[in-house]
Symmetry: D3
């Protein structure tokens, strides 16, 4: 199995509901380092997993919708705890949609799995992985 | 599949038996950066994999038993090479016990896999992963 | 010159005033990795710069005042852009006060300089350094 | 499953053919950080995955064939895009050959999988993994 | 003293002249992680060292002139060993010119020092620092 | 001012004397990542600070004297707390001796300062810097 990963980042505010979150129930924020991984069993005609330029641009677009925002004010997250693991799934699902829409190039249709890791600090990170 | 990982560290002395270890047969030491990963297919009612505070506390407790010690003097390791890969299993097994004991919270019973990575330097690390 | 550095982190929300900040004028957030450095020309009687345990505890206390908060709601920052470089100074000044107050131990009075670096992402960080 | 990983690096020149590569069609270069991972279900008689010294030496030998070279001039890569993901496979295949040849020691015959990751920068990396 | 640092990277081919360089006399390549630091004693009216957006854009422009190139073919480097430390000076000098030209904003004229670090691998890096 | 830095590592056991060290008074150990920096105002005739190969070899020799040892058993450290900051000085002093002895090459006599940083974990490190 081959894979490539590209990294970008995201700076957001949010708060959590539930006693388990302790002081993180208050409005606070995070820088998330975001690693998006694309996996496939064989390389495409250019001998790559996906055009790394397109992958980087697409990841930037997905993150751009949330960057420099308060996630508590984003309609689609109404009533939802925007935990690191949940946000990893949001990003992964959007990248899978981009693959199906052809935004990552025709060759990218051979991608079989997408995994997204969000690092919330140097001592904690979360991932979500799924098939395409 | 979702996962979260928390990082802590451990500073121990030990020595190895066996020619394969060369100079590491002498009493020496290591700082191990320890990454503990918890995986599950669905998030719990709080939209998380596990309470990251509890996970961090529990990892600290597991490491606390060995921290600032000479592993050659720990009874349970008598006659055993405490290699990095072996220690990764020791930590992972203890975290699985904690899940079963409920120490990581009731929601944590949904965790399916635990993986532990110990970095012994910037150029070498070892992992062990198992089902819960 | 000797120095020791300890690292902790901080997760906050805030917003900026001024066109130069572009989208960061909106309420957003950041994880700041915080490196606090203490420098002195000679070591103390224990052969150290400062008790690393006390230094870590004190840094945690300083960050604890701001952690998991919206800095826009903190009175002392009213009307002030809480830029990364400004926050580095806030932390450094508090650590210097702690040295003068003896909170870092009597031996720590030999510290001559304090420097604080806040990493806002993997591609940007800011520092402030001053004499004690 | 147990694993150990060792890291080394490689500095090469190369160019790519295909519009998808944009400016990387020009002769340029890269430092690749190379992480080689060896996995097996049980440890050997010394309680390890593989002799980390032998693994490091063997990885160095594999990289030594390409280090400080222009890959466009290497016969076996004639007409091939030496993408990061492709080079990960080249290294992994060579390490599997070494396992079969016994170069990594008799105990290493228990290794079941090899994975190789090449980091081309702080924001992009590629992997290849295979069974032994 | 305050500072901010921004990071970008550069992928080039080059070769060296001189026995001291050993195998690096052959045409090879490198990824350089480039950290550009700007220092000043007081912050500007926006409470910052320099607009981090402008600093990042300007660093990208400076690196863009060399990115994805063979430095052996760049006229201004004719007969010069493009060592990591030398390239750090080339980047730093260009950033100082940008400060004087006002490209980094009027506020940036308060910057007193520029330092540039180029990481050629995880185990070697070089810096150059100068006054403005 | 120009500089180059090379990184290596060291794995040792040791213990400390003094209540300030708490549990670290017990025999334990550490992996130290060791960064050795060489500074000079002008480059040598090869356009470098120092031959990076010689610098790496020399650093390895200095560390080799202590690697895989219990520092409590090293005669020259008898009655001395081998703190991270103290060990940074030991390494720096040896590198300065090497410069004076010509071991780093004739060109290296232009080096004016040496700085050594020892990272004892991902959250703590110490440095010592001196003139040559």
């Amino acid at each position: 199995m081959f894979s490539i990963t590209v990294r970008d980042h995201l700076m957001v505010a949010h708060s959590f509901r539930g006693e388990v979150f302790g002081p993180a129930q208050r409005l606070h924020g995070a820088t998330f380092l975001v690693d998006a991984t694309f996996r496939r069993p064989e390389l495409d005609d250019d001998n790559i997993v996906v055009d790394i330029g397109l992958a980087t641009t697409e990841l930037g677009k997905v993150l751009g919708e949330f960057n420099y925002r308060n996630l508590d004010d984003v309609d689609r997250f109404d009533g939802i705890n925007t935990s690191t693991e949940f946000l990893a799934k949001v990003v992964a699902d959007r990248l899978v949609e981009a693959i199906h829409a052809g935004t990552l190039g025709e060759g990218a249709r051979g991608i079989r799995e997408v995994a997204v890791t969000l690092h919330e600090s140097h001592i904690a990170w979360a991932s979500y992985e799924r098939s395409v």
